[in-house]
Amino acid sequence: MTASVTDEKRRARRAGVGALLRGQMRNIAPFLTLICLIAFFSFASPSFPTLDNVGNILTQVSVTGIIAVGLTFVILCAEIDLSIASVANATGIVVAYFTAQESYVNIANLPLPGAAAIALAFLACTLLGLLNAFGITFIGIPSFIMTLAMMQIAAGISALLVRGQIAYKVPDLVATLGAGSIGGIPWIVIVAAVLLLAGHLVLTYTRFGRYVYIVGGNREAAEYSGLNVKLIIGTVMVISAVSSGIAGMLGVAHFGSAQQNEFDTYLLDAIAAVVVGGTSLFGGRGGIGNTIVGLFVLGVLNNGLDHVKIDSFLKILIRGLILLAALVINVYAQRLRETAEE
């Protein structure tokens, strides 16, 4: 321990504190943004810094957070998944489709036991993820295009199943995890926290997690090291689809209904959370820790803007500008890092 500390110091002295800071810019900038936002809203509105509101923010970011777990893997591999929101929607609708609905719901559905409905929903999102994986690795379609097509495919599945109607009932387990709470803590927050933690552990402590960073860091070198790059990329696409599927099931319970297009805003929110948190769009840098910071930046921003008197239409513009600023920092941090390494 002492040795590594002195090592650290020696390196810092050699490279200069400035270079060290520049190297860490990716992690520092989002955290500073978060602190500034919290400080600003606490100052601007007395209703913002309350325990109740903290609970609100946590609940509000949970669905995004679950989607962002898988998306973090994808972006770390220098790929992208645009089908997350669509897959979430389709999976939520699948689970409702196989649940007995009230008589006034006009959907030709297939009521099954809750466990079977959940299993089929998992199967559905896994298959969609596998299709993404197949298109990207075996056929060689860029992930941007492949998942764009998947976005339409999953939306099509949703549309065919509900046919413009709305379903309300989901299996009891899903209803509890999505809308229930234990000891005052919403289950959905607990699920999001557990999945984020699991994602972090996988990325940090497992061989697969290392491969994700290695493939994102230098794909060519990963291939020349004899790694099965296609398998790794295929796996992250499946992880992403399954995360989205879980978010979709719980989201449907959380919102109290399953219908088309109800997850549309989550595509941008999830990508924004990962990128605002500082995970590099070029792959290989970042992680779940960054994603959590990004989630809070977005959550605090969305929530805080409701607490201050501001034109609700202006809010959309403000969100866009903050996202742009984060992207600029992301790309800039990459460049700074590269110069710091030279």
Partner: protein, 499 residues
């Protein structure tokens, strides 16, 4: 052929890169209506000189005279405007555009509104190409043409931009014999029109067949200029590598005794491997505890061959056996599992610069030390074992690989394969860009691994590398194995002659 006046004259030209002299006090004359061959080893200075003439390097000492007047080109555009054009080894065509568009790349005929006049372009291109004896449809997609024709279209483009001095860098390395013939007749035709051609090549036979004059470079100096009809291949090689009395000549001419094929078991066996235009009918056997050298010029197919052996490229035909069992390597990870290791020629494609040393050295062995969870302590242990074995500096497992020197990075690229030794180790250009000390390290390391029983294949375009490392040597030329040396005494000049 008209007896030309000098079109280009260089007087006392020197050029250095970061304090290292690339050209020293060069005098060079190019006549009108001559084909001038330029030969020399890698790094002898021929390409640097031509880049000065073509305006790529504007920063040099000395004088450049064009038609007797002193001038200095500041850019390639500058030189082209004055009539000097260069065709590089890597063609700069736009493969998805038509032949006509490539001929007029950037200078398409347009009307007043700026709209491209297609019909005029196609007609002009057809006429101009026919004038060079090329019957090519200007509307054809250029990427669909054979390499030889693509190259001629590029030459045509340089000509139509007004060049009367054309510099060709290694034009024949990717061409089949009939294509070479075609190129040569085009060059002779241009010579009759009074244009001047500089022809840089490693292929001395080609030079001697087409050139009027040959100039030899060595170590940044012009060694000799002679009429092609008055010299032979052996004499050129001797001048390229330095005769006995030259300062470095001794080491270059030294005889090296090659071993005979050992009786050790064959680890890797390739029979009649072929891959498209890259190489064909390559057979080789690699035994335990030996180093097989693979030598050939750039573009001879060895880069593709070693990638096939590592599962990165798939052969069109032929059989690969490992320890007697036929294998089909579907991917690089299949090759790794079969016990094959590969260190590519570029450090970019073997290292993770932003990661610490220990994560680089463990990447190919992770599967064997951890099923699910990483074992960082074990990884650091492995890193330190390799740091000691290969003497990597600084000796810190946490050092970012991007911060190491080039030679040490090269060692890391090798180290990642050695923690769990493979059966076969393939090294591509293991000493490229290294100083003498680092090269000696490589020789020592490779000898050590051979003594441990590893089967090693060293592929290089540098004769010294192959000669200093190999027990047996195979020479590749234009995609085929043309010579095998074993159990005999060999020297660099014999190796060069075979290629």
């Amino acid at each position: 052929m008209e007896t030309g006046a000098p079109v280009i004259e260089l007087v006392g030209v020197s050029k250095s890169f970061g304090g290292v002299a690339a050209l020293r006090d060069i005098d060079f004359v190019l006549q009108a209506g001559e084909i001038h061959g330029l030969v020399g080893e890698n790094g002898a200075g021929k390409s640097t000189l031509m880049k000065i003439i073509a305006g790529v390097h504007g920063d040099y000492v000395g004088e450049l005279r064009l038609d007797g007047r002193e001038t200095r080109f500041r850019s390639a555009g500058d030189a082209l405007a004055a009539g000097v054009g260069m065709v590089h080894q890597e063609l700069s065509i736009a493969p998805d555009l038509s032949v006509g568009e490539n001929v007029f790349l950037g200078t398409q005929p347009v009307n007043k509104a700026g709209i491209v006049q297609w019909r005029r372009m196609v007609e002009d291109a057809r006429r101009l190409l026919a004038g060079l004896g090329l019957e090519i449809d200007p509307r054809a997609r250029i990427g669909d043409l054979p390499i030889g024709l693509q190259q001629m279209v590029e030459i045509a483009r340089v000509l139509f931009s007004g060049a009367r001095i054309i510099i060709l860098d290694e034009p024949t390395s990717a061409l089949s014999p009939p294509e070479v013939e075609r190129l040569f007749s085009l060059l002779r035709r241009l010579r009759e029109d009074g244009r001047s051609i500089v022809f840089i090549s490693h292929f001395l036979d080609d030079i001697l067949r087409v050139a009027d004059t040959v100039t030899v470079f060595r170590n940044g100096r012009r060694i000799a200029t002679t009429p092609a009809s008055e010299t032979r291949k052996a004499a050129l090689i001797e001048r390229m590598i330095g005769a006995g009395h030259e300062e470095l000549g001794e080491s270059y001419r030294a005889d090296i005794r090659l071993a005979s094929a050992s009786a050790a078991p064959v680890v890797l066996q390739a029979s009649n491997l072929s891959l498209g235009r890259a190489y064909r009918d390559v057979s080789l056997e690699l035994r335990e505890g030996e180093v097989l050298g693979l030598y050939g010029f750039m573009g001879c197919g060895q880069i593709e061959l070693v990638r096939t052996l590592f599962g990165k490229l798939k052969p069109d035909g032929g059989v690969l056996r490992i320890a007697g069992t036929e294998v089909r390597l579907a991917s690089t990870s299949a090759a790794r599992r079969a016990g094959i290791a590969f260190v590519p020629e570029s450090r970019r494609s073997m290292l993770f610069h932003a990661e610490p040393l220990y994560k680089n050295t463990s990447v190919s062995a992770l599967e064997r030390i951890s099923r699910l969870f990483l074992k960082p302590a074990r990884e650091r242990e492995m890193a330190h074992a390799q740091i000691d074995k290969l003497q990597i500096r600084p000796p810190r497992a946490e050092a970012l690989v991007g911060s190491l020197s080039g030679g040490n990075q090269q060692k890391v690229g090798l180290a990642k394969w050695l923690s769990f030794p493979p059966k076969v180790l393939i090294l591509s250009e293991p000493t490229r860009g290294m100083d003498v000390g680092a090269k000696e390290d490589v020789v020592r390391i490779v000898r050590g691994l051979r003594a441990e029983g590893l089967a090693i294949l060293v592929a290089s375009t540098e004769p010294e590398t192959v000669l200093s490392l190999a027990d047996r040597i195979m020479v590749m030329k234009k995609g085929a194995v043309v010579r095998e040396f074993e159990n005999e005494v060999i020297s660099k000049d014999r190796l060069l002659e075979a290629a």
